[in-house]
Amino acid sequence: MVRILFRFSEELVAKPTTAEIILEHKVPINIITAHVDSKGGEFLAEVPDEALETVVKAFRQRGATVTLPELIEIDKEKCFDCGACVSLCPVEAITVAEDYSVNFDKEKCVGSTCSACVEACPAGAIESVKQNNAELANNALRAKRKTNNETV
C-alpha cells in the first residue's frame, strides 16, 4: 500500500470522482482522512502498489492533484523522549516503549492532513517533511520491494 494525497478543486468536489475510479478500475482505495472546505477538498488514501500507476493516472486525467503526503520526521538528536506528542496522535503512530523511549511508526502516520504533534513538541524535534513528488514512482517501487522482502 502507498499513501497518496489527492487534492480537488471546488468544482471537482461536487463530482463522484473517487467512486467512479474505484468502480471503473475495481481498485480497493482506502480513504484514511478527508477534508472539504470552500476552496476544495483533499483526502489521504491508501492505494495498492500494483494499482498505483493506474490510479494516479485516472485521478490526474480528471483534474485532481496527486502528491505524496508530508509526513512527520522526529529528530532523535533533539528528542528527549518526553511524550508530549504521544497522546495527540490520532492514529497511535507515536507510542511509548517499555523502556520509556518514544517510538514513531511512519507507516501509520497520516502526515500533513493531521500534523497535530508538530507544534506540540517542546524540543522542536518534529518536522513535517515534504516527500519529493518526483520520487512518487520510486517510492512506490521501494514500497513494493519492501513488501516483497517482508513476504519472502
Binding site: C82, G83, A120
Partner: protein, 505 residues
C-alpha cells in the same frame, strides 16, 4: 519497646558509614525502581540490611529555573540597566554586571520558540552567545551600551539557581472546552480527547523521602549532569499536600546539555527541562519502606484546564501507574494520556547517580537544616474584585430556526442588537445570526434562516473570568459570545462592547 528502639538504633546507618563504604568500594546502591523490586521479592528488613543508598531522578519542564551569571567588567565600565542574551531579555537584579537568565523569558524575534532556557542550554553546550546591554551611564560607570560575544569560559560565575524544582507530583491535565487549548501542560485537545501529566511518580526524589528525613539544606544532588546542592525548600512548597518542591543550585560550567534542555510549549512560552536526582541514604528501616513506594500508591487528580480559574474542577483521582499505562478513563471515556516529563531520562539520571556513588565520584552529605514539613501554599491576596461573565451578561435576544430572515431583521432593529441567538424548543443553543449575516442574506437574496446560521458557536460560561471571554472574542475575531450552562441552555449574551465598558479596552 525501649530495648527494641536501642537495638534498631544500633543497626542504623549513618552518612559517615556510607561514605566510608563509598571510599572502600563496598557501598550498595540501588535505583528506586530496583529498590521496589527488591522489597517486593524479599522484605523491607532484607532491603534495609542490604542497601545503603537509593537513587532517584526526574527530568521535567521546570519553569522556575534560571542561571545567575557574572560577565565581568568592561573598560570603560558599564552599570547594566537592561540586557539581552541572544535577544532574550535577562534580569539585572544586582550591581553592575550580574545577570539572571530566567528560563521563561522569551526572545523578541522568536517568541514562543527561543527563550532563557535555550540560552542556558546553548551556553552549557559551549556555544557563543551575543550579549547586548544598555545603561543610563554614571560618573563611575560611564558606558551606555555594549555588544559582545561570550562563551561559558568568559563568565566569572555561571550557576543554575532554581527557585522551584522537582515537584513531588503534579496534576493530570484535560480540556473540556470545544476548542484546543495551549497550556504549560502542553496542547490539550477539545472535549477530553487527550490528557497529559508530569512527574516521575515512584522515581521522584521527594516521593521517596516524603518526611524530609534525609533531604535538606546542603544535600548534595545530581543537577543537570553535575553535582549540585539543595539550598532550601522551593517556592510554593506544600509538603502536607504532597506537593513539596526544592530550591537548588549547581555549577553550570560542569553540567551536560543532555540533562539541561531549553524547550518551548506552543502558544504558551519557553522553559527549561532540568535533570535532577537525589540520593536517599537508607538510614533506618522506615526509609527502606518509604523508598519502596510504587506508582500505584501515588495519586493525583485529573484536572480540567479548560476552566481558566485558579481552582480548576477535579474530575477524578488517578495513580501514576494508570498514567504511565498510556490511557485513563474519565467520565466513562477512554482518554489517551502521555507524559510531558521524560521518564526515560528520569531513569537514566537515577542510574547515572548510582554509578557515580559506586565508582566513588559522589559522596553523600548530611543536611545542615531540615526542610519545612508544615508550610502552606497560600493564594494571592487580592484587593480588587475580578469581573466574571455573569457580571456583565445581558438577556439574549433569541429566535427559532424556522423563522424568516425578514422577522429577524425586524427584531434586530426593534431590540437594537447585533446578535440574535438561535435556540430550540428547550432554549438550547442552535446557532447565532448577526446583523452582518442578515445584510449579506439580503444582498444575496436568501430568505431561509437555516442558510445563514452560524452553527459552530464560540460560547462562554457564566463563571468564566471576563478576561478569558474577551481573549476568546479577540482570538476568533468575533464581537459576542452566547452564555450557556452545562446543558447548552442559553442564559444570556456577553458582547465586546460590554467587556470594553468594564475592562476599558
Amino acid at each position: 519497646m525501649e530495648a527494641l528502639k536501642l537495638s534498631s538504633k544500633k543497626n542504623n546507618r549513618t552518612i559517615e558509614k556510607i561514605n566510608q563504604k563509598i571510599r572502600t568500594g563496598d557501598v550498595q546502591v540501588l535505583t528506586s525502581e530496583e529498590m521496589k523490586k527488591l522489597v517486593e521479592s524479599s522484605s523491607v528488613e532484607v532491603a534495609f540490611k542490604e542497601v545503603d543508598v537509593v537513587t532517584t531522578g526526574t527530568f521535567g519542564a521546570m519553569c522556575s529555573s534560571g542561571a545567575i551569571i557574572n560577565v565581568g567588567h568592561s573598560d570603560p565600565p558599564i552599570k547594566i540597566e537592561r540586557a539581552w542574551i541572544n535577544d532574550v531579555e535577562v534580569c539585572h537584579p544586582g550591581a553592575a554586571v550580574d545577570l539572571y537568565v530566567g528560563a521563561t523569558a522569551m526572545s523578541q524575534m522568536q517568541p514562543f520558540e527561543y527563550g532563557g532556557g535555550h540560552v542556558i542550554e546553548d551556553l552549557v553546550r559551549g556555544k557563543e552567545v551575543e550579549l547586548r546591554t544598555t545603561s543610563y551611564g554614571t560618573d563611575c560607570y560611564p558606558r551606555t551600551q555594549i555588544k559582545t560575544s561570550l562563551t561559558k569560559d568568559d563568565l566569572n560565575q555561571f550557576y543554575l539557581l532554581n527557585f522551584r524544582n522537582c515537584y513531588q507530583r503534579y496534576a493530570c491535565a484535560v480540556n473540556s472546552r470545544d476548542e484546543t487549548i495551549y497550556t504549560y501542560m502542553g496542547k490539550l485537545l477539545p472535549q477530553l480527547r487527550n490528557a497529559t501529566f508530569s512527574g516521575a511518580g515512584e522515581l521522584n526524589p521527594l516521593m521517596n523521602d516524603p518526611d524530609y528525613e534525609t533531604i535538606g539544606i546542603g544535600t548534595r544532588i545530581f543537577l543537570g549532569g553535575a553535582q549540585g546542592y539543595i539550598i532550601g525548600e522551593g517556592t510554593q512548597h506544600d509538603p502536607k499536600n504532597l506537593n513539596g518542591t526544592l530550591m537548588v543550585r549547581g555549577n553550570c560550567k560542569n553540567m551536560l546539555p543532555d540533562f539541561l534542555k531549553g524547550a518551548a510549549f506552543a502558544h504558551y512560552g519557553t522553559t527549561l527541562y532540568v535533570g535532577l536526582g537525589v540520593p536517599i541514604p537508607i538510614l533506618n528501616e522506615g526509609l527502606a519502606k518509604k523508598t519502596a513506594i510504587r506508582d500505584e500508591e501515588i495519586f493525583t487528580n485529573v484536572v480540567d484546564y479548560g476552566v481558566p480559574r485558579r481552582d480548576r474542577p477535579e474530575l477524578k483521582k488517578v495513580n501514576y501507574k494508570e498514567l504511565k499505562s498510556g490511557a485513563i478513563t474519565v467520565n466513562g471515556k477512554r482518554v489517551r494520556v502521555s507524559s510531558l516529563s521524560s521518564l526515560k531520562k528520569a531513569r537514566d539520571i537515577a542510574g547515572t547517580l548510582k554509578s557515580w556513588i559506586e565508582n566513588g565520584s559522589f559522596y553523600l552529605t548530611s543536611p545542615v537544616e531540615r526542610l519545612p514539613r508544615d508550610s502552606v501554599f497560600k493564594p494571592m491576596r487580592q484587593t480588587e474584585g475580578t469581573p466574571f461573565v455573569a457580571s456583565v451578561m445581558q438577556a439574549a435576544v433569541t429566535c427559532y430556526e424556522n423563522e424568516e430572515i425578514r422577522a429577524i431583521a425586524e427584531r434586530i432593529v426593534t431590540r437594537s442588537v447585533n446578535h440574535i441567538i438561535v435556540v430550540d424548543d428547550g432554549n438550547r443553543l442552535g446557532g447565532i445570526v448577526t446583523s452582518w449575516d442578515i445584510t449579506r442574506a439580503m444582498a444575496e437574496g436568501k430568505t431561509a434562516l437555516a442558510d445563514i446560521v452560524t452553527r459552530r458557536v464560540v460560547t462562554a460560561k457564566p463563571d468564566e473570568p471576563l478576561e478569558a471571554a474577551s481573549r476568546k472574542m479577540a482570538q476568533h475575531n468575533i464581537s459576542a459570545l452566547p452564555v450557556i450552562d452545562a446543558e447548552r441552555k442559553v442564559l444570556g449574551i456577553v458582547t465586546a462592547e460590554d467587556v470594553s465598558r468594564l475592562l476599558g479596552r
